[in-house]
Symmetry: C2
Subunit: 124 residues, 2 copies
């Protein structure tokens, strides 16, 4: 990938609504959620929602998949992974930035435990 520069990804997530959208999509898993469901959950009117979805799509953090008359949006984990890698490498490179990160270990461990189930869950 290496599609865009990091600051564009960061800017895309640097807005409360878009960050909420992305979090929701991560929650939702690979299946995704359709636009109006997102709008309902977050209280965004269609036009505003579309604007933010377009932004997130443009930078590659999410993608939409048409299914009948709905468009299901889902998070692009790969892109996010690259962003996290970038931050990790540019915040910590040889400098040891993570002093009290007991959490990272937890997450990594949990990840390998969960890796099999592709997070296929209906919405609430």
């Amino acid at each position: 990938m290496e599609s865009l520069n990091a600051s564009e990804l960061l800017a895309a997530l640097g807005h409360e609504s878009r960050l909420s959208i992305f979090r929701l999509l991560v929650e939702a898993g690979p299946t995704g959620i359709n636009a109006s469901a997102i709008g309902e959950q977050l209280g965004l009117v269609p036009a505003t929602l579309s604007f933010h979805l377009a932004h997130l799509s443009r930078v590659g953090l999410i993608q939409g998949r048409q299914e009948s008359r709905f468009i299901y949006y889902s998070a692009d984990y790969g892109e996010m992974d690259e962003l996290i890698s970038f931050l990790t490498n540019n915040c910590c490179q040889g400098k040891a930035c993570l002093p009290k990160t007991s959490m990272a270990n937890t997450v990594i461990k949990r990840r390998s435990r969960v890796a099999k189930s592709p997070a296929t869950k209906g919405n609430s």
Copy 2:
């Protein structure tokens, strides 16, 4: 800490100049660099630089320390750590986002090896 919400930190880094500043400060280590040196390296005029430094300071990603007639700015690793943790937990929570992350493991391993020394190193 837990000072601000993540989207403010992301927005702060979501600008090319500010991201460059932060990277430079990470490079420089705990000692930091003074403002005009930053401006020279990045080609920013004083007023613009101050504007961005103030923004990064406000959200807690960097801090300035007066020393004689200079102000040395340095990165706040703790704040960045929290941001990375947030992203890790909110991009991957139980959902396995990192498929090909051989890197994350590397970093975590390196961290525990380095954890004792609290990142006290001169710059370059």
